[in-house]
């Protein structure tokens, strides 16, 4: 295959890999901007991946699966908010507890319900998955390498959730910077006392923020099990929740830079997949383990050296209590 097509395909893969990462990172942005550490992203995503795949398999509808995934994300978010906001629990501990709980609960329920060794049934029937949408004239455009193939491979040919994630970036930015809700959300993560004295409920705002993160994680989980693959398998989030958190920090808690960070992480991931077993000039075949480690090595390097001073929301991780 010619280099040009390779690059286009690589970029298309980047978009597919970036989607759940981006959804989770945006979820984290809402939570952390309100002052609640988003360590539960992994668990909320995984839980949603399980229920959406289960419901899609049983009902035969990907849309019902999505509904179930979002509902699960919200339910887990409520649990997290109840622990962290209402009872002012330690946010790191609560988030980790959620992740560990879901990691065990998903496969256990899957085993009990489907008896398939901790997986959900393969989603094969029509309408059980979110499949790639082909845009008009994509087949015709594919015959013209430039710019036609950019259209057919890069813009067209993704599933609905990918486009949803893309739309969510400007939407989040608008919500955060141009609306009353956004102003209050940013304020509550910086100085909850200021919000409280302005007559706004800190608890309510933080619940709203954590719930939004639950919804987005629900969509991300649904993507993993009913769009990117055809069913739920154990630990299928594979650390994406943590990687999303890293992207969020690298993106300085802002929507567009976070999008950039997600794309960068996804690109290294896509590149790593592409490089497996490829004989490169000068270096030869790179061991697969090294290639698979690449995104994580990059994460560490970026976060350690290149982020500059990432200033987190000032009140992050601190449960709000009125003085005395």
């Amino acid at each position: 295959m010619e280099t040009y097509t390779l690059i286009v395909l690589l970029l298309a893969a980047t978009i597919r890999v970036a989607t759940p990462l981006l959804l989770a990172a945006l979820a984290g942005m809402f939570s952390e901007r309100s002052g609640v550490i988003a360590l539960g992203l992994e668990g909320m995503m995984l839980g949603a991946a399980f229920t959406s795949a289960s419901v899609a398999a049983v009902s035969g509808s990907a849309w019902l699966g999505l509904g179930a995934g979002v509902a699960t994300g919200m339910a887990l978010a409520l649990l997290l908010a109840f622990a962290c906001v209402t009872h002012r629990g330690n946010q790191v501990v609560a988030g980790m507890a959620l992740n560990i709980m879901v990691a065990g609960l998903g496969p256990a329920l899957a085993l009990a319900w489907f008896d398939l060794g901790g997986q959900t049934p393969q989603l094969e029937g029509p309408g059980q998955r979110f499949l790639a949408l082909t845009w008009p004239w994509a087949a015709a455009a594919d015959k013209v390498p430039f710019p036609g193939r950019l259209y057919s491979q890069l813009l067209s040919g993704h599933n609905l959730i990918v486009y949803l994630a893309a739309v969510l970036v400007p939407l989040s930015a608008w919500l955060l910077y141009r609306t009353r809700f956004g102003l209050r959300l940013r304020a509550v993560g910086e100085n909850p006392s200021a919000v409280d004295t302005a007559g706004i409920s800190v608890t309510r705002l933080r619940y709203q923020a954590v719930l939004i993160s639950g919804v987005l994680c629900g969509v991300a989980g649904t993507y993993l099990s009913t769009a990117a693959s055809a069913g739920f398998v154990r630990d299928m989030t594979a650390g994406k929740g943590y990687l999303a958190l890293a992207a969020l920090i690298f993106g300085k808690w802002k929507p567009y830079p976070t999008l950039g960070a997600c794309l960068l992480f996804a690109f290294t991931d896509a590149l790593a997949t592409r490089l497996q077993g490829v004989d490169l000039p000068l270096v030869g075949v790179i061991p697969v383990q090294f290639i698979l480690a690449l995104p994580y090595v990059l994460t560490v390097l970026l976060l350690a050296g290149f982020v500059g001073t990432a200033v987190p929301p000032a009140a992050i991780g601190v449960p709000y209590a009125k003085e005395k």
């Binding site: 209050r184 940013r186 304020a187 006392s193 919000v195 004295t197 007559g199 003085e323």
Partner: protein, 515 residues
Amino acid sequence: MVEEINSLPPALELRGIDKRFGAVHANRDLSFAVAAGTVHGVIGENGAGKSTLMNIIYGFHRADAGEIRVHGKPVEIHSPQDAIAAGIGMVHQHFMLVENFTVLENIVLGVEGGPRLAGGLASARAGLEQLARDYGLDVPLDTVVSELPVGLQQRVEILKALHRGADLLILDEPTAVLTPQEADQLFKMLGRLRAQGKTVILVTHKLREIMAVTDRVTVMRQGAVVAEVATRATSSRDLAEKMVGRAVLLQVEKGPAQPGATLLTVRDLEVTDRLGVPRVKGVSFTLRAGEIVGLAGVAGNGQSELLEALAGIRAPSRGEIVLGGRDLVREGLDPRARRHLGLAHVPEDRLRMGVVTGFSAQDNAILGYHDLPAYQRGGLLNRAAILGGCERKMAAYDVRPPNPHLRIAAFSGGNQQKLVLAREIDSDPRVLLVGQPTRGVDIGAIEFIHQKLVALRDAGKALLLVSVELDEILGLADRILVMNAGEIVGELARAEATEEKIGLMMAGVKGEGRA
């Protein structure tokens, strides 16, 4: 005019407000009224229940019993929102501002006027420009708050309250962070607010402010109202007695200083912070036996860094600190070694550096001296000696309650400070560095601490007193150094020092002395 005011119902009336936090009876059956269009002072020591009361009025806490009336009508205030609706605005001691928001964003927070921001911001801007004109409260609306000086941040808080339609404004310890000149500006502003018909409640523990701006004053002690008088009919001394419940000395009684030999010499000291910014720029001075040298300045002009460099907490980038013929900088002595050489230090930030809040009083009473042979027995701590030592210090310094086992956090600020002072003086130092000795300390304890410092001076020790309270510097120091932007801009003998002269130097106007 007076009759007219009296015929109106009071802007705020409290009837039988009562509040307990567990065992603490914070407010006991409080009743008083604030006449509309006046500046009303509420004075009391730390812990007298002023803040609790204000938090009840602003809806932060619910009173257990009692009634609040605004302009004669009973109101139920369950949240700040209710307070705002009742026309009550509050300027907290610690500003309730979002540091990385602009002034405008801070002001509209909570009253955005619709789900989308653009329209609300525009109409708020117009309204605020009008308010600024009416009250002379100019603030750059599009500047990020963290870039504003403290005085202007306070103005933002006042504007915030006015923008919400407050007609009763509560200010909680508003001058704690201001220079004398900024405080005067604030008082002028309060006068303008009163002239426009607003009612102001000024909560403070500073007598000078009460005397300067209020019409009436309510005195609180131990959660109860002990007096309510017209300001004209009272005096600082009278108010202080009512606050403390006994006669107090507002002025420290001390004889003239008898300066002896030079004990500490600082030459060309320079301190840079982590970012490489010089905070102390080539400072030189001496401390002599038997004198108190006051270091005045607005907070953040290098006094803290200088003090920490002297104590050995911060390494200077240049210069000498000579004590007893030894250069502490060149030898790189740490705070403990300096203590053993007779250089004791009462840090500015008591809770962060002076004590360990989770420790008991007896353990706090030996911090930094725990390795003295007196507190050691076979490599372990000699608990009996530590306990006895703490009891002795508590008795000598009137620390209440005299319970060495109690956690230090359970003591009032004044009692904590007395214990810290006892600890540092107990080692019989030659030089004592004292930072903000009476910050967060009640009047009774201030008097005691000041007397101890003067006694130490009279015992032939050298003291460096760093304080942002000008009254304290003027009351205690024999010689005054003024710092501005990391330099000592002037030196004054006590006799030639006035508040005005020092205030000007604090603002950076170079004094004669040396510059």
